[in-house]
């Protein structure tokens, strides 16, 4: 023990320092992602930071052009082009519409256009945009962007089928036929959301 006292002292010191700091700080996934993406010498990472408006769900519903229930059919590869801002990376999510709760039109497949994605060595990260998975059942609060703010449309989609979403607050995941989860993972009966939509869209 006496022979190795210096090594023991060093090991204990490292353990105390590491334990105190790791216990105090959670290593967040997003920081790990940023450092992982940026490791390649020739890579570029673009981060989009968005301030989120404080809006009630009723206010978002009133501002929406459509609310739909559907299934995420496909997440398209990222594109570079105009999406409100010139030369930005965005990606499209194709949703197969099961039914429109409000703002119905003839589109059975719609496109949700979102900031972010990876093209070659450039990645755009957007933590305020919702994430989608193929096969996911969703309820979405959506609006049509003005025509002059859009870039090319996916094949088979016209301008009436292109939507943007109200950030993470515009996406609910269907737990089952009767329950949805919001962005904070809170379960809400679907009937409550539908009632809010109907109330908010009543003529004043």
């Amino acid at each position: 023990m006496q022979k190795h006292k210096y090594i023991i002292i060093a090991a204990v010191t490292m353990a105390i320092v590491a334990g105190a700091l790791v216990g105090y700080n959670n290593i967040t996934g997003k920081n790990d992602d940023i450092e992982t993406i940026s490791q390649s010498e020739n890579s570029t990472t673009i981060t989009m930071s968005a301030i989120v408006p404080e809006l009630t769900i009723e206010e978002i519903i009133k501002a929406s052009d459509a609310t739909v229930i559907g299934t995420v059919k496909e997440i398209l590869t990222a594109q570079r082009g105009k999406f409100f801002v010139d030369d930005i990376i965005y990606h499209d999510v194709i949703v197969e519409v099961k039914r429109y709760i409000s703002g119905g039109n003839e589109q059975q497949e719609i496109v949700i256009r979102l900031f972010g994605g990876t093209i070659d060595d450039t990645t755009m990260i957007t933590e305020s945009e919702p994430e989608f998975k193929e096969g996911e059942q969703v309820l979405l609060l959506l609006y049509h962007p003005p025509e002059d703010s859009m870039n090319a449309l996916p094949e088979g989609i016209n301008k009436f089928g292109l939507f943007h979403i109200f950030g993470k607050e515009g996406k609910f995941t269907l737990h089952d036929e009767n329950t949805v989860c919001n962005s904070k993972n809170e379960s809400i009966p679907l009937s409550i959301i539908e009632n809010k939509i109907n109330e908010a869209l009543k003529p004043e």
Binding site: A10, N31, E35, V85, P146
Partner: protein, 190 residues
């Protein structure tokens, strides 16, 4: 000789733990610390922004005041208006939702190579410090966005809502003073 070697190894291991573990924990600081550090950095300590893309002089003044809030804080990093800068502010339509967006790009060495902020013309903006319930205050939003210029991230937990870097702001709201987490963040980074 053997004892000397062991002493040296001990000192080396202690130094290693200080120089590696402590910086790693700072880079991964999160909500509980009242700030989030992106890990990105400028190669300089003074950055210039160009807001002359915005025609309204009162908006420009409010943006400059937003930068001044951070300039007045202790660490030696400053942001000044200059029309020759490639780092721009805009007042443009950017959708029906976000009041403001800041984009910044970094190279493989985590150095910032470009940054731009957009105030959303979809909303109505106040520049006199007394926004109505249907207006956003330019200076309040500018202070927050300049926090991103300083590489601070958005805070999402409600217990951080008094921090400038809290991720959400409402119309009619004025928030101009740095919170303890905001100050701790820039103190660590710079």
């Amino acid at each position: 000789m053997n004892k000397c070697w062991k002493k040296s190894l001990t000192i080396l291991l202690i130094l290693l733990s200080i120089t590696v573990i402590i910086p790693a924990s700072i880079v991964n600081a999160d909500e509980e610390d009242g700030y989030i550090y992106s890990g990105h950095h400028w190669a300089v300590t003074t950055v210039y922004f160009d807001h002359t893309n915005i025609a309204n002089m009162d908006v420009r003044t409010a943006i400059t005041l937003g930068a001044s809030t951070w300039n007045a804080a202790p660490p030696n990093f400053n942001m000044y208006a200059w029309s020759g800068s490639n780092y721009d502010w805009y007042l443009d339509y950017i959708g029906n939702y976000y009041p403001a967006l800041t984009f910044h790009s970094v190279n493989g060495a985590n150095e910032i190579t470009w940054i731009a902020t957009y105030l959303n013309s979809y909303y109505t903006w106040s520049t006199d410090g007394t926004p109505t319930a249907s207006e956003y205050d330019v200076q309040t939003i500018a202070v927050h966005e300049f926090g991103h210029w300083l590489n601070l991230g958005d805070l999402e937990e409600e217990y951080n809502e008094d921090e400038i870097m809290y991720h959400s702001r409402g119309m009619g709201e004025v928030q101009l003073s740095l919170g303890s987490g905001d100050e701790a963040g820039i103190d660590v980074i710079y």
